[in-house]
């Protein structure tokens, strides 16, 4: 009885905390993005007196938002594809081969996760300057992003390669399939969810990345996080920051939900090797 009551109290408390934790701050952000400058939102009012999309159109027309969106959404897919290409050979040997030092190699692949990003950014800038490669900053950002997010891609692709059924590979070989055909019929169908998962994770990480874009890219190369950071400095205009926050967070949430659905619907028959048509 006591346990049941305690469970109920905890459940209700968690719902309340959850609402305060995430729902209220986002409602505040949405309201602030809709504040019309003609009628300011004063302390005594619970909601803005006049709501409009003025800030959204203002940010679109008068700030670097267009450039930031273009840069972020060009950078992220480029990084995703490059990272995937870099990760495949390494993930293949991690997933399909046993060799001495495999666990150490796997552990070393996690190095970017424990390296402070700002150290990497600041001294990659130093390296670029020292080699006289300042005009290739964007390429350096792509490279830095690829290295920073390689651990995710390698990990996901390794699991993908581990799950390719040996029976399918052997069957294809027994039927005299060429190397290319074996990859086409045995590997690619089983690896498809891992491909998409890797691309999406790296895409989201790259869109959100701040340190490298800020240190290496500023002031000429603007991304959504660096633009948001600049609006939150000394000239903090809250409605503008609200617009940018929502632009940064909403597509990522949608992509993450898509990713989760993708991972849940990954074909179990193909992975387990059972029930293949």
């Amino acid at each position: 009885m006591i346990a049941k009551s305690l469970h109920r109290i905890l459940f209700i408390s968690m719902i309340i905390i959850g609402v305060i934790w995430i729902v209220v701050p986002f409602i505040m952000a949405i309201l602030w993005s809709l504040v019309d400058p003609a009628e300011p939102w004063t302390v005594d009012l619970v909601t803005p007196p006049v709501m409009s999309f003025y800030r959204w159109t203002y940010m679109w027309e008068s700030s670097n938002l267009k450039d930031a969106l273009f840069n972020s959404y060009l950078l992220a897919p480029t990084v995703s594809i490059i990272t995937l290409i870099f990760s495949i050979p390494t993930a293949y040997v991690f997933g399909r081969y046993n060799f001495v030092g495999k666990e150490i190699a796997k552990l070393l692949c996690l190095l970017p996760l424990v390296t402070p990003y700002f150290v990497l950014s600041v001294f990659l800038t130093a390296t670029i300057i020292s080699f006289g490669l300042s005009e290739y900053r964007v390429a350096a950002i792509v490279l830095a992003h690829a290295v920073m997010f390689l651990p995710y891609a390698i990990r996901i692709m390794t699991v993908g390669f581990e799950q390719v059924s040996q029976e399918h590979i052997d069957a294809a070989r027994d039927l005299s399939a060429t190397t290319f055909s074996r990859w086409r019929v045995a590997y690619f169908p089983a690896l498809r969810p891992a491909f998409f998962a890797s691309i999406l994770i790296v895409f989201i990480q790259s869109i959100e990345e701040f340190a490298v874009a800020f240190i290496l890219g500023s002031p000429t190369f603007v991304t959504i996080p660096t633009l948001l950071f600049s609006t939150m400095g000394q000239d903090f205009v809250r409605p503008n920051a609200a617009v940018l926050s929502l632009i940064l967070v909403v597509p990522n949430v949608v992509l993450m939900l898509f990713l989760e659905k993708l991972l849940r619907t990954a074909n179990p028959a193909m992975i387990s090797g059972k029930g293949l048509k």
Partner: protein, 300 residues
Amino acid sequence: MLAKYLFIILCLIPGLGIILALIGFVTYIVIMQSIGLNNLFGEDEFTIKFWDKIFARKSYNRSVRYSLYIGTFSTIFSILIAYPIALWLRKPFRGSLFISSILKAPLLVHGLVAAFLFLNVIEYHGLVNQLLQYLNFTDQPIRMRNDRNAFGVLFLQTWKNMPFALLLLAGALQSISDDTLDAARDLGASLYRRFIDIIIPLTISAMTAAAIIIFIGAFADFTFQKIAGPRNTFSLSQLMVEYRGRGKWNEAATVGVTLIVLSFFGAVLVAFIINKLFKYPGWLSPVKMKNIKSIITRQK
């Protein structure tokens, strides 16, 4: 055999090779610049004067202490909050997925957006001040941003990192089989003993992984500190960026080396403490290693 290893090495180059090359090269440049070599401008000369200078600076020592404070407490708070929740959510019940999703939602929110949301709540015109004024607790809004003790930064770090700890711990806790816990109960283990001697030791890996990643992230924080942190203290990342902005690359390199070294030793220390505290039989367990040894000797 040789062909196989050659193939493996060739395959490792695009992934692991690039990681080692870039991280290794950047680490090399940071270390070299901190001792006066590989300079961007001016002559190269081996010297430890930059280290002497930086150790003598109060701002540097304050930054080290401050970053350690943020790293340590963010890790402790995140794990302390996440563990009981993960334990509670171990067995699914009606609504558990909803609660879990809401609590993990900050994982999808960018750190800068989190900082903005936080400012919305605590600023002069934030929800807290509105509420305090509405309830007549105060006439004037209270300044809560950039507080001296960095409670705001700690709150933000916990808000952002707790869901990550929850994700790892929930996975580890859900993988503990009921048979193991039932067996312990049948052998007379109390709730406390089952928790200390079975549940916690089986989740040490997840706890260590979460703690290390949270510690390094919070220790090397820049954005939360810059937006919500105290104005009179810099985090180490902030100090490094500050030096770099003033063209003092060697001083920035000394701070960079400090960040790398303390991140590494901090992570090792975190792993050591968790292992000492919680492995079976840990400091909290009523069973001691010497008791186990004596039982084994008696059985022999």
